[in-house]
Amino acid sequence: MSLLEARDLSVTFGGVHAVRGVDIAVERGELLGLIGPNGAGKTTLVRLLTGAVRADAGTIRFDGHDITRAPAYARARQGLAMTHQLVRPFRDMTLAENVSLAAAHAVTARPLAALLRTGRGAARRRAGELLERLEITEFAGRGAATLPLGVQKRLEMGRAIAIEPRLLLLDEPLAGLNQTEAARLADLIATLNREGLTVVLVEHNLAEVLRIATRLLVMVEGAVLASGAGSEVMRRGDVRAAYLGESRAGTGEGRGARG
Amino acid sequence: MFHLELLVVGLIWGAMYAMMALGLTLVYGLLRILHVAHAGVFALGAYAGVLTANATGSLWLAVPAAIGVAAAVGPLIYRFIYAPMLSRPPYVALIASIGLFIAMEDGFRLLFGPYGLPFDYNPWFVTTYSLGGISLNVVQIAMAVSTLVLAGAFGVFIAATRVGVAWRATVSDPQMAQSFGIDPVRVRYLNFAIGSAMAGAAGLLVGLLNNLVEPGMGAVVSYKGLAIIVLGGLGNVPGAVVASLILGVVESFGTVYLAAVLDRDAIAFAVLIAVLLIRPRGLFAPAR
């Protein structure tokens, strides 16, 4: 049984089929690269899976449970974590506070316990470990909103990992980073995956995706076009056409439209 | 017949609300500010009107006075109060706006007395026309006509003029608009001038209809205007007009049929809450 299994997912925004009839299965332990041109529906698919957007049709099963109707927080508690394409740190908090809050998920799951408890120790320690791992310890005490983008991206990842997920959905974690930064973050993602965390990586940086992904899924116009090992998929004519079509239509990575 | 009359009354109330709400929703669309002090501008227009009319004996002169004074003050409010606050959280401008409104109301009381000012001579109110058994006075007709004209003119302005296109572009994407050479600050001044002019005109018409211009006359429209623009989808101009008309008609019927259960304000807000429970972002899509 796959860890995550979505069948026939569809959603429409204002008459446009953003995602139509997508079937997707994420196997335990894999690092699935999800690619496709702008507007292909990748981010919408991620938002469908995490519960930020409700599907018009289709089912989502996570570890055997039907979570199609479950709210976002319930999916997170079951082990489905995500990072946002545009970073969304809690702006008034420090980096450490951001990650600590996620690390305290066992307490914050019960409001009464959260009201009664003030001890930050355990969560702080756990957050400290993660910051070290992500190599952003030096920024721990800084306000989240004032950090450079690269740090904010890691903050988001730290926050996601802190809830101890079984599946991590990353929405363009490398976007906006320079080559060195991107490579190091990609290495980290690969390491996490090797340690047993299942990852879905939505990314435009094809070079890095091809380098670390164990499998590739290509979306075009809201539907899955191809799936398989990286080199195989990229050789396919229809995939190349979809990408070439894009690079001819827009000049490079147009930031206007969003996946 | 009775119901037809209630409908007409409601539509005229709606027209009155619309003239207020247009300015409010324009400001919200551009700046995300709940501009409570718009109701102060409304009362200011009425005072300018009644003072001019009583001094000159001419209601015709009161019209440009009300519109002119309001249109002049609106941009000043933007320049000296809102502009420095744009980067702050939204409640900062809201509280500042409430403070300004309280000060304006009390300023009117101190300057012009607590009893308010009636028009010495108000022929428009007593001149009535009968349309199919429903009698309307000139002020009511003016209210309906000016709302129609303003809403229509605004539609044309937005769709067909250069400035209108600039305005629309600025609402939907200020940065994009700027890159096309549109000065967003000028659009904001224009926005405040137009919205305030409408509020001033509405104030004068309401003053004529009550034959009384009083310090607190903005109080009701201050919060009901907010309810209307929320109901219509914040920043959505046609939405605000439709919401105004709906609220006017609901209040007209409600004050006759629901008066034993709820008062007028409560009826209006019951509608608002009911709509928001079903559509949390108003009847129509908010701007942006």
Binding site: - | E5, V9, W13, P118, F125, L212, A259, D263
Partner: protein
């Protein structure tokens, strides 16, 4: 005694009033300080202004006539915004400043809250025009010199049904304690006077636009309209009814009782009749003195609120004079014993609860001014509750 011994000197004092400064020349230390709270700011500021002007006029007149029992009257006035949480500190501040007698020139919520403070402190207290029935029930030191709403509502029913002979009546009621108590009194007695209430509309104090009610009244086609309100609601209401083609007689009450109402409603005000306690055509020297002097002082004609606070100050001074000083207990007892004391709002006597018993005046608007129409003398109908 039918006429107070103050009367002749007061009429004389009238002509001196403008010449003599407030507080007078007598030693300030010896002054009789009367605590007074009113809504000087906020939504009720109009009434606050009238009420403090009325009280000030009374003080000036008393001082011009030689003071109250030889002492100059000094008003200590504080704002309460017509709110209970402002009135309590204001009342306590008055106590702290050593006032021994106090008057409310404010609305019900604020007055009732202040009444509690003064009752506890054993200070005699008069509510000039607040109409909440529970104010005088605060205790034995609390008095009221105006009609209760219910009493006036009953008078309205008698006037409309018996004296005018109208049967099919539409009620338009203001949604506040004033309007609600008028409506209660009117409905209590309506059937007794052969009145059928065709329908009842209500509106809030903030409303100035009455189109839907006008449409309803046109449909109902009543013989007469009984409408409660204040000048700022009644003015627009009456003019909109007339502009909408409603010609039935309109009967109002005290809340209309100011020239401001006529200024707003203009021609539409003609023929409107109200129940009140201020008779513009009175031959009574007290009333004449007040009406003329108020207009001279304020620059606009007297209204009911001003007359009410004027009355309250006069009643208080009379009690102080009879008590021979401002010992609170003695003044309270003297107040309770007030009998047929002539004031601008009629002859005042109190019942056991501290409520007044007096006749009701009917005024009609004629040629842009209030004029005498009739008066209702019916002690049984107009009896306020006594406990």
């Amino acid at each position: 005694m039918r006429y107070s011994h103050h009367t002749p000197s007061l009429v004389k004092g009238l002509f001196l009033a403008s010449a003599v400064a407030l507080g007078g020349a007598a030693s300030a230390a010896d002054a009789l300080r009367i605590g007074f709270h009113a809504p000087l700011t906020g939504f009720a500021a109009g009434d606050g202004k009238s009420s403090s002007l009325g009280a000030e006029l009374a003080a000036e007149q008393i001082n011009a006539a030689g003071g109250c029992d030889g002492r100059m009257v000094e008003l200590v006035i504080y704002d309460d915004q017509a709110k209970a949480d402002q009135a309590i500190p204001a009342a306590n501040k008055l106590l702290g400043e050593g006032v021994k007698v106090a008057i409310s020139g404010s609305y019900s919520g604020a007055t009732r809250a202040a009444a509690g403070v003064f009752q506890k402190a054993g200070i005699p207290f008069i509510s000039a025009y607040a109409i909440h029935p529970d104010i005088t029930r605060t205790g034995d030191h609390v008095f009221r010199t105006s009609f209760m709403g219910e009493v006036q509502g009953r008078a309205g029913a008698k006037f409309v049904g018996e004296m005018l002979g109208h049967q099919r009546i539409v009620m338009i009621t203001l949604n506040n304690d004033f309007g609600q108590s008028l409506a209660t009194g009117f409905k209590q007695k309506a059937a007794d006077f052969g009145i059928e209430i065709v329908s009842e509309y209500s509106y809030s104090i903030k409303d100035r636009q009455f189109g839907s009610i006008v449409a309803g009244v046109k449909r109902d086609a009543p013989d007469a309209i009984y409408a409660s309100g204040y000048f700022f609601t009644a003015g627009p209401l009456v003019s909109q009814l007339r502009a909408g083609g409603v010609e039935a007689p309109i009967i109002g009450q005290e809340g209309y009782d100011t020239q401001h109402f006529i200024d707003i409603a203009k021609e539409a005000a003609e023929g409107v009749m109200i129940t009140t306690s201020l008779d513009r055509d009175s031959e009574d020297p007290e009333m004449r003195a007040f009406i003329d002097a108020f207009e001279a002082k304020a620059g606009f004609p007297a209204d009911m609120v001003a007359a009410a606070t004027h009355t309250a100050v006069r009643v208080m001074c009379d009690a102080v004079a009879r008590a021979g000083g401002d010992d609170p207990q003695a003044v309270r007892d003297a107040l309770a014993a007030t009998k047929d004391f002539a004031t601008a709002t009629g002859r005042i006597s109190f019942n056991a609860l501290g409520e007044i018993m007096k006749d009701v005046e009917i005024q009609v608007v004629k040629d842009g001014a209030y004029r005498h129409f009739a008066s209702i003398h019916d002690p049984e109908l107009l009896a306020p509750p006594s406990e």
